[in-house]
């Protein structure tokens, strides 16, 4: 009884604060710094007064990914300005990750004829609402992080996904675990749609690959004590533990496993790939393997330096590189003289672009050619480091 009452009130409160925040948040469009387009060299050939939008959460509790992507875009705009002397505006559409706000913002972007492309939407939920509107308006989009597999099955002509989708993550995780020589594996999830969905795919693929799942458990991500799970994993003497769930419970589970003398490799998906994973693991996160469709950190030092300079010292985070690459893909279209939505869409859809770490060539449905890679990250020396794609 208490639960429902409190939850009801909590939702009411959340809704109210959401409204307030929505009312307050309006970030002015940014201009890549420096002089005006006309005074710069090559100014005569510049496309006039164009904007590229970013669509995703920039404020609110889920804003981390959106901010990473937007920050990555800033580097692309800055470099474009330096190279061509032209100026393109970055127009932010801050959805707060809220699917309810997405249609209004999408219509606003479509209605602004100066907006020729959108990087985003960042999340799958808002994508379902906004993408039909973008499709209607012929406004090309490249999402750096919406990984729901069904998004590419809607026949949207403007849809491009710069990362692998969720369907590829589970098989890649199983492949990685088996590739490490693990035979007995514990697969644990948080009973959420994401966590259980991912863990179930991993379970199936592990069995297909000849390994056994000796412990199958679901834990309560809000619970405190995972000892009964830890005791089982300990008793089963497994080689690896896969966890389907988010970083907070992932960190605490890993800590309790290590406290319980379980030394098996800890592997988790993109929901656990966050710096806060290390906080939750209270110093026991070393050696954790975290998989994601995107790059958590960059390896290109020039990119990192410029990123930090443009973003007040912030380090590149998950999907920053994808945001940078996606923006560059659109800017490459501008450089090729494409200035209308239809032309840019055709360019992005057909012309491959070599990004920082991978090649972006899109299939007809907007997925990457070959589906894209799942990237391995490892906690090393108290930091999340990039290892490379699952081979």
């Amino acid at each position: 009884m208490r639960n429902t009452r409190r939850m009801g009130m909590a939702f009411g409160l959340l809704a109210a604060t959401g409204l307030l925040a929505a009312g307050c948040s309006s970030e002015d469009s940014e201009v890549s710094t420096g002089g005006t387009a006309t005074s710069a060299p090559g100014g005569a050939n510049c496309p006039k007064d164009l904007k590229i939008g970013f669509f995703g959460a920039l404020t609110g509790s889920d804003a981390a990914l959106g901010i990473n992507e937007r920050n990555g875009m800033r580097v692309a705009f800055e470099r474009y300005k330096k190279e061509s002397g032209c100026e393109v505006k970055l127009e932010p559409y801050d959805s707060q990750g809220d699917p309810a706000q997405a249609p209004g913002l999408a219509s606003k972007a479509v209605g602004d004829s100066k907006v020729v492309a959108i990087i985003g939407p960042a999340f799958s939920g808002e994508s379902k609402q906004a993408n039909p509107i973008f499709n209607e308006g012929g406004l090309p989009i490249i999402t750096p992080s919406a990984t729901n597999a069904a998004l590419s099955k809607n026949g949207w002509k403007i849809f491009h996904r710069a990362v692998a989708n969720d369907d590829l993550q589970g098989p890649a995780a199983a492949k990685f675990i088996i590739g490490k020589g693990a035979k007995k594996i514990a697969v644990i999830d948080d009973a959420s749609e994401y966590g259980k969905g991912l863990a179930d795919i991993v379970r199936t693929k592990l069995k297909e690959g000849g390994a056994t799942t000796d412990v199958n458990e679901a834990i309560d991500p809000k619970g405190s004590d995972y000892s009964s799970t830890v005791n089982k994993v300990k008793a089963a003497n497994v080689d690896a533990v896969f966890y389907g769930g988010y970083y907070e419970s992932a960190g605490r589970l890993m800590k309790q496993l290590r406290d319980g003398n379980v030394a098996a490799t800890f592997v988790a998906g993109d929901g656990s790939l966050d710096a806060k994973f290390l906080d939750s693991a209270s110093g026991k996160g070393e050696g954790a393997v975290l998989l994601a469709p995107g790059n958590y950190t960059a390896t290109d030092q020039a990119f990192i330096d410029e990123y930090k300079k443009l973003n007040g010292g912030a380090e590149p985070g998950l999907y920053s590189v994808e945001g940078f690459d996606a923006a560059n893909h659109v800017l490459a279209a501008l450089k090729a003289g494409k200035t209308t939505r239809a032309d840019i869409n055709a360019y992005v859809s057909t012309t491959p672009y070599q990004g920082l770490l991978k090649n972006y060539q899109y299939q007809a449905d907007g997925e990457l050619q070959g589906g894209g890679d799942i990237i391995v990250h490892e906690v090393n020396g108290g930091k999340i480091t990039l290892v490379g794609p699952v081979k």
């Binding site: 009452r5 409190r6 409160l13 309560d220 619970g223 405190s224 000892s227 907070e248 209270s282 110093g283």
Partner: protein, 325 residues
């Protein structure tokens, strides 16, 4: 998944008997300490103080303040020997002070005005729910805990001291179990033997007669909240010893579980809180081992319902007022 009980392993009762006992006791003693806060206030006021879970949360924040005052860093948190004793003592005092102060303030601001106006019982309940939400959201402000999990230095080493038939016995578990038991005994004896304790029991038994006998009800009520808050604060620290890290909503689930423990043991009964907490902790440990962790809550609550069917007032059933000196 072949069946819903995919992880069903009846043999686990035996194979993981000792690990379940140790872990269940450690968890159960934490439930018991928080349950004290619910049971004391209920015994005196017939009020379920839902905000007790947030008092517990404030207690966990006390550990954060204590460790930072002592300059214990996240990078090298583990203390030993005298340093550990000092750190625990400082943090315990701060956590209990936080918990006690918050509980007394809560009583003064949220409940006393209602009592003065003779408000119906339902108003108290709504006030309790409101205070609970208010405190959680207050601590979610960026200048307090924020919305993200805050890491707390792990002052007690979690490494095994020894293993006993597969059960890992570590210092944090020992401190939690012993610490909680000592607190429970102290408060039980206090309520049974001291003058103020007699006042608490008198008001619990019959508030009107107690007033006629010269008991200052307001003082007794404030004191009851103080005791409950001190215990919830201490529970907050012990929780941090066992599970380092806190968050603004950390008390929510833990509070529900502790309230369940109070009802299981017999709400209003101090020893019932202890029994209920330990029983619930053990049920969760063994339930998780046999049926799989996803069934922990189902098992806990099923047994609660069954026990309440046969013993509607809980395992020990007796109320605070009837406790003998």
């Amino acid at each position: 998944m072949p069946s819903i009980f995919a992880a069903f392993e009846p043999g686990a009762v035996l194979t993981s008997f000792w690990p379940s006992v140790i872990d269940g006791l450690a968890l159960g003693s934490l439930y018991a300490l928080v349950a004290l806060g619910y049971t004391l206030v209920y015994g005196v006021l017939r009020l379920i103080n839902f905000a007790n879970s947030e008092i517990f949360m404030i207690g966990t924040a006390g550990a954060l303040v204590g460790t930072s005052l002592l300059g214990i860093s996240l990078a090298d948190p583990t203390q030993a020997g005298l340093g550990l004793a000092l750190a625990l003592l400082v943090c315990l005092v701060i956590s209990m002070a936080f918990g006690g102060a918050a509980a007394v303030l809560l009583e003064l601001l949220a409940y006393r005005p209602l009592r003065r106006r003779g408000a119906p019982r339902l108003s108290f309940l709504i006030s309790a729910i409101g205070s609970s939400l208010f405190l959680a959201e207050l601590f979610a402000r960026p200048w307090l805990l924020g919305r993200d999990r805050k890491p707390v230095p792990e002052i007690v080493d979690h490494a095994a001291i020894f293993t006993f038939k597969g059960a890992i016995v570590s210092l944090d578990k020992v401190i939690v179990i012993v610490g909680a038991l000592v607190m429970m005994v102290v408060i039980d004896q206090f309520v049974r033997r001291s003058r103020l304790g007699r006042g608490i029991r008198a008001v619990a038994q019959d508030p009107e007669t107690a007033t006629l006998m010269g008991v200052n009800i307001d003082r007794v009520v404030t004191f009851t909240f103080l005791l409950g808050g001190l215990m919830a604060g201490a529970a907050g620290l012990l929780y941090e010893v066992r599970f380092p890290g806190t968050k603004f909503d950390i008390g929510f689930i833990f509070g529900i579980k502790s309230f369940t423990a109070a009802v299981l043991g017999g709400i209003g009964n101090l020893r019932g809180a202890l029994v209920g907490g330990i029983v619930l902790g053990l049920l969760e440990a063994f339930g998780g081992a046999v049926f799989g962790s996803e069934w922990i809550d189902v098992i806990g609550f099923t047994i609660l319902v069954v026990i309440l069917m046969f013993r509607p007032t809980g395992l020990l059933g007796e109320s605070l007022g009837k406790a003998r000196a």
